[in-house]
Subunit: 278 residues, 2 copies
C-alpha cells in the first residue's frame, strides 16, 4: 500500500505512480495531509509506503516533512523529481477574486497573484483547491494546480506555467517504516548513485561546530548534496542539521567519526534516486 497526499490529481500522485511501478504495488491511497501519510506508514506493516514532497527548487524545504522525518520512525527509500507546471483553474479569469491553493503554490505564484490583485486562501493541497472551486460553483474562485487536476474536475485551464520562476521542480521521497527486516532491498537500483540522509544535533548546539562535521566529509572525500538547518525547537538560535550525501562504501566509519561531534544522530537510510522516465 502506498499512501500519498491527496486527493487524486495532486503532483504527489505523479510521484506515487512512478514509485508504484518500482515497488510493484498498485494500491495508492490518498491522505488529507502530510502528517496523515507519516501516521499511516508508522501504523502499517513493512509493505506500507508513503510519498511526500521534501523540497522545491524555488520555495526550499517542506518544513513539515523535515520535522516529521525526525519525529516518526521512518526511513527514506527513494526520491524522484517532478516538474511543476502550475495552472490557473476555474470558470472565467476575469471574474476571479480569490485564489485557493496549497501555501507553497501560493508562494510560487506570488508575483502572478499580486499582478492580478487577487485575495488568497491556503488549503491543504492544490487538488483540494480545485475540488473546492468545483464544489462551490463560484465563479469568483480560482485554484492553482496541475492541468491534470483541472481536467479531472472538468474545469477550465485559464492559464498555464503561472509560477514566478521557470525551473520549478519538486522532489518527492518514498518513505517506509524503520524496522529491522529492512524493506529497501527489494528494489535496489544499481545504475544510480545512492544518497544518504542524516539528522544531527551538534554538541553545544553551536552552528560553528558544523565545521567539524564538514571536515570529516571533506577528509573522506564524500560529496555533500544538501545541508539544511531547522530549529531544535528548544530555544531560538539552537539548530539541528539535515545532511544529504552520496553514500560512501564505508558508511559505518563515517557515521562513527561524526559521533564525536554530535549529541544526537538519526540515520534515515541510503536511498535510490529514480528518474521520472522509467
Amino acid at each position: 500500500m502506498i499512501y500519498c497526499l491527496g486527493p487524486k490529481g495532486s503532483y504527489t500522485e505523479e510521484a506515487a505512480e512512478i514509485f508504484s511501478k518500482i515497488i510493484k504495488d498498485k494500491n495508492i491511497e490518498y491522505c488529507n495531509s502530510i502528517y496523515e501519510v507519516f501516521e499511516r506508514v508508522e501504523q502499517g506493516n513493512n509493505n506500507c509506503y508513503g510519498v511526500v514532497p521534501s523540497e522545491n527548487s524555488i520555495e526550499g524545504s517542506v518544513s513539515l516533512t523535515m520535522d516529521l522525518l525526525l519525529e516518526f520512525p521512518v526511513k527514506i527509500l527513494g526520491e524522484v523529481d517532478i516538474n511543476i507546471n502550475h495552472c490557473l483553474i476555474g470558470y472565467s479569469k476575469d471574474k476571479i477574486k480569490k485564489i485557493l491553493a496549497h501555501p507553497q503554490a501560493l508562494a510560487q505564484c506570488r508575483k502572478y497573484i499580486k499582478k492580478h490583485d487577487w485575495e488568497t486562501e491556503s488549503v491543504l493541497s492544490n487538488s483540494m483547491a480545485v475540488k473546492k472551486v468545483y464544489d462551490m460553483k463560484n465563479e469568483e474562485l480560482g485554484a492553482i494546480a496541475s492541468k491534470k487536476a483541472g481536467k479531472l474536475y472538468n474545469l477550465n485551464i485559464l492559464d498555464t506555467n503561472i509560477q514566478d520562476y521557470p525551473n520549478n521542480t519538486t522532489r518527492f521521497i518514498l518513505i517506509g517504516k524503520d524496522c529491522e527486516d529492512s524493506n529497501d532491498i527489494s528494489f535496489t537500483n544499481n545504475d544510480t548513485t545512492k544518497k544518504s540522509t542524516i539528522i544531527i544535533e551538534l554538541i553545544g548546539n553551536k552552528p560553528g561546530a558544523l565545521y567539524n562535521i564538514l571536515k570529516e566529509f571533506n577528509k573522506k572525500n564524500i560529496n555533500l548534496t544538501r545541508i539544511e538547518s531547522r530549529p531544535s525547537k528548544t530555544k531560538l538560535g539552537s539548530y539541528i542539521f539535515y545532511i544529504d550525501y552520496e553514500t560512501p562504501e564505508n558508511e559505518k566509519e563515517l557515521i562513527n567519526s561524526l559521533k564525536n561531534y554530535v549529541s544526537n544522530i538519526k540515520y534515515l537510510g541510503s536511498s535510490n534516486i529514480f528518474s521520472k522516465f522509467l
Copy 2:
C-alpha cells in the same frame, strides 16, 4: 517612518514599538504584507525603516523575508526577540469550526488544532485573522493571535498559550535602505555584541564547498550564530547560504578571504541586538 506588518495588534507591532524608542521615531505605519514593507523601505528616504519577522524558534526561518533580503537593496540594522503567546480568540470555543491565522501560527498550533479537528484558513497576518472574525460576526470562526489583538477587537480570549512547543520566540529585524550615507550610526549600542549577516553563492554551487567558508571562520575564531540554506531558484540541488556571525574587528579581511570561494556575496551589514527590556 517605520513600516511594519499590520494591522495593529500584531506581534510585529510589539517589535516595532521597541525599535521606535531606539530610533526615536514614533510614526509607525502598517502594511498588508512583508513584501509591502520591503517595497516601502526601498521607495522611501534614509529615514524609512521596516520591521519584519525573520525567524521563529519552532517554525524556523520566514522564507519570504529571507528571499526579500536578497532581492531588495536593504541592510539589517537591528534585531529583537519577542515571546509568542498564541491565544484562541473568538466568541465561544464550543461553536468554533474553522481557525483563521497566519500560516506560521497555524503550523505552530498544529497539534492543538488537530486535537479539536478544526478546519484552517491562512490569512496574511494573525491580527488580520482577528479582524476578520470580528467583521464577520460568525461564531463558527476563531483566530490565533496575541491577547492584545483579541482585546483590541473586544473578542473573547478563549484559551492561552496554545502553541505546541513552550519556548516560542520570534526574532524581528529592523531593515533600512542600503545607501552610501549609512543610517546605522545614529543608534550604536556599545553594550551588546554586534552581528553581521552575509548571503553567499558558492562557486560551483556545491554544498560541499561550504567547508572552505567555515574553515575561514574557524581560522579567524569568529563565532557563527546561524547558517541557513535557501534554493538558488535556478535548479534543484543548487543553494545559496545565509550566514550570521559575531562581527569581528577586522571584518573587511574576513569578507576578502571569503571571496575566493564565492561567486556572489551580499553583505547585509552589522547590526545591534536589542533587548526587549529597554
